[in-house]
Amino acid sequence: MMALSGLSVSFDTAQALRDVSLQVPQGTRLGIVGESGSGKSMLGLSMMGMVPEAARVSGRIMLDGTDLSGASERLWRRHRARRVAMIFQEPMAALNPLQRLGDTVMEPLQVHLGLSRAAARTRALELFDEVGIPDPPARLRQYPHEISGGQRQRVLIALALSCDPALLIADEPTTALDAHVALRIIELLVDLAERRQMALVFISHDLAAVARATERIAVMYGGEIAEEGPTAAVLENPRHPYTRGLLGARPGIGGATPARGADGRRQRLPTIPGSVPPLSQLPAGCRFAGRCPVEMPHCADTRPAAYPLPGDRHAACHLLGAGA
């Protein structure tokens, strides 16, 4: 469905993405996890052809066999909505506060698909029903401020689905929601992807959300993919030191470790030393150099390849290289 190869996005002083290769086959669900500054949102925008104008882009973006590398905004606009659609973290910001929800959802149906107003209304009702919005006719007449955050996210999902995209990109779709509501939105996205044979790219900093929503996961750090593979395998047995650090730093429930040690001191969380450096100050070699607990002398200068690992996965770490 969508394939990126060697995609790099640079600005004057910083490289936001370096040599990213990824495939999202039709009907599959890929998670992209990373902390702030990892490049995960830039990757999502690249897939939508929405990279800021000031950026230099190299590498290939293939959508369903069409090469869209360096494609014009005009060409991208033909693919957006109908082939690729996107939803964002803050549903309120993405909805026009002065427009009724019905008009918002009917607009792309009329503009992109050329439906009549009556046909668009019928389709909008079906879409609201499909994304689990109760009482669709009443909702069509409401304004964004009249419904809850979870319902707003459902409206945006309906909007994204309006032109039957083959790929849906969801950038932090559950971050602003309470845990229960977030769970239901994840269930909806998984269900929609399966029923419609639609590919889903789920971008989040939240490992628990990605674990539930996806089959494969790409862990990003410093504009690169540190590790990629089947979600369950990567989370159970992370191979990249960054993935290990990230999973370890996350408080778990009822783990094997006691809350307090024998001396009465509370058990500390494992941490990754330091913080994510600004993009302009990343090391030239492995991006994780300088924070890595198993760093070797050449790591900061030599870039590790994405070494293939058994089980259809790979990780970019020198320790996994030949003979290591």
Binding site: E35, H180, P251, G252, R266, S275
Partner: protein, 259 residues
């Protein structure tokens, strides 16, 4: 010995904006009949989703607002019947850390100035020495005090906010979503810092968050709230291993890594 903090049957409601000219607005009960006690050096975790009343409860504990009924006793003093001078003196012993370090640090003042603010407000002396000490306690250097907030990362700004809260050497720290805006790896560093400070300074802590696993990793006891009401309370270990309320169970499932 009296417990450090006693919250007895506090209730707080707000009048919502009126919907028509002739009728008063409806009343929203943000916190309804919540009680607990907190001993010196212990941590109580308060878990709840948005609208659970956890932040309203925090504001009443901090005496930023008064309960309609019930009382909050800090070291035996009923906070909401104290005169303003007495309350100001007592305030240095309970301090708060907020979610957003941007909102609580003045961008035009040096970090040292912001950290010293609660000391000035409570009329303490030897400001510089105390500020330096607080900076070191949160893992920063005294020289960092001469910088401005924008020169720090999000995690460092939260360290500064914590330094400001502990500079008065409080007995109680109230942290409302203090790590929620941080990345996972930075969040772990700040949680560890809070544990360090608690052990070194003998701090009691009220740690409020929507994130149950985060609360569970540092709370001795937990209070689960929903729509203003206490749902379940108990020692963290037993609440995690044998939750009684369905709501607690569902929060545990929602927070787990595996479905």
């Amino acid at each position: 010995m009296t417990p450090l903090l006693e919250v007895r049957h506090v209730t707080r409601s707000y009048r919502m904006p009126r919907r028509s000219l002739l009728h008063p607005g409806p009343v929203l009960t943000a916190v309804q009949d919540v009680s607990f006690t907190l001993a010196r050096g212990r941590t109580l975790g308060i878990v709840g989703e948005s609208g659970s009343g956890k932040s309203t409860l925090a504001r009443m504990i901090m005496a930023f607002e008064a309960p309609d009924t019930g009382e909050v006793r800090f070291d035996g003093h009923d906070l909401h019947s104290l005169g303003s001078a007495d309350l100001r003196r007592l305030r240095r012993r309970f301090q708060m850390v907020f979610q957003d370090p941007w909102g609580s640090l003045d961008p035009r003042r040096t970090v040292a100035w912001s950290i010293a603010e609660p000391l000035r407000a409570t009329g303490a002396d030897a400001l510089d020495r105390r500020v330096d000490e607080a900076l070191v306690q949160v893992g920063l250097r005294p020289a960092d005090g001469r910088k401005y907030p924008h020169e720090f990362s999000g995690g460092q700004r939260q360290r500064i906010a914590i330094a400001r809260a502990i500079v008065t050497r409080p007995a109680l720290l109230v942290a409302d979503e203090a790590v929620s805006a941080l990345d996972v790896s930075v969040q772990a560093q700040i949680l560890n810092l809070l544990m360090d400070l608690q052990e070194e300074l003998g701090l009691a802590m009220i740690f409020i968050s929507h994130d149950l696993p985060v609360v569970a990793c540092l709370a001795d006891d937990m209070l689960v709230m929903r729509a203003g009401r206490p749902v379940e309370t108990g020692a963290t270990a037993s609440l995690i291993s044998a939750p009684k309320a369905e709501y607690t169970k569902s929060l545990l499932t929602a927070g787990g890594l595996m479905p």
